[in-house]
Symmetry: C2
Subunit: 200 residues, 2 copies
């Protein structure tokens, strides 16, 4: 079936965010980045700067029962901050997915939408040197600082994801397709995803 | 660049072998299955039945130095059996890759050909129930026996691969593309790989 919701999870420095934006543009889908942050802040009744951290690096553990109720019936303000963040992500992403075709980058979207029909879950990765070069150029960092940022960011993403979902971040079984941007280039990966999304 | 060598690693029951054969047929590439076993047996001076086990489930550890020399200068018969198997795989696969366009399924081919230009390394996986159904139908097993065979076979493949390559079997970083056959179907994955292989 044609895919109307695309989630993109990605290693830091792999170009996943750019790929997501360009896929959305090609397909005429909504692209959620800053708007997702605004929705999360609204759902979690929190500051947008805080919501933009995505909860990565915070500590806590929301109960599965609470998540299954979408946090309803609880006073979310009494929860640890990163539990509130996870619930806010869940609410915002499920709402967004119900509104029409979209591309969502990051924020455990593959997990929240795992059972949502017409969803294509993608993981973008790249070999180490390509990621270092990309982060050096994009963020104006030297090699050492770029490598350190990649390591730290991916560790935070993996920890947050694994803590809440009980899945392993970047493990093939979470995704329909995992694709190396250093093998195919950004353009190549965009074309690949657009082609797959349009398959009958 | 157009790809002339395609390696396919796969979870047991994911349809990877069928996908490999059909990709080879579509592209007009040689497909290595039984012929690879014959070559391995020849390279390792061993029985074809033994070579067909691929060394999975055997114990041992060939030295990196020995592998880099392709086993030359050593008496391979003095090595543990699975070390001989690994060296035989390396020799047979590198020889095959030098002979022209081909598809090679399994046998750590992604590792041996990691630095070979024009190689496309693919990992095929599928969700658990799809694999169980496939193995039940193909091998005439009940659910329990199919699930047990899947678990045992993948464990052997992972152990052999990880023991010799010091990489994690099924980890995205070993491959250019990882693709779920339960998401796209066997036909869908074949079309996807053929399309990628033909990209300029």
């Amino acid at each position: 079936m044609t895919k109307s919701i695309i989630t993109i999870s990605r290693q830091y420095g792999s170009g996943g965010r750019e790929i997501g934006a360009r896929v959305a543009e090609h397909l005429g889908f909504a692209y959620y980045d800053k708007e997702l942050i605004r929705r999360m802040a609204l759902a979690g009744d929190m500051d947008e700067d805080l919501a933009s951290s995505g909860g990565e690096g915070l500590m806590g553990k929301v109960s599965t029962l609470l998540l299954s109720r979408g946090g309803e019936g609880s006073d979310q303000h009494s929860l640890p901050l990163c539990d509130r963040m996870f619930l806010a992500q869940a609410q915002a992403i499920k709402q967004i997915a119900s509104e029409g075709p979209c591309v969502i980058v990051g924020h455990c979207a593959d997990y929240f939408l795992a059972d949502c029909p017409g969803t294509l879950n993608i993981f973008i990765y790249a070999e180490g040197e390509a990621r270092v070069q990309r982060v050096m150029a994009r963020n104006g960092l030297d090699r050492h600082a770029a490598a350190a940022r990649i390591k730290k960011t991916d560790k935070k993403r993996a920890t947050f994801y694994e803590q809440y979902t009980e899945r392993k971040w970047g493990c093939v079984s979470n995704y329909d397709l995992c694709c190396s941007s250093s093998s195919f280039g950004i353009d190549g990966v965009v074309d690949l995803i657009v082609g797959i999304a349009l398959l009958p």
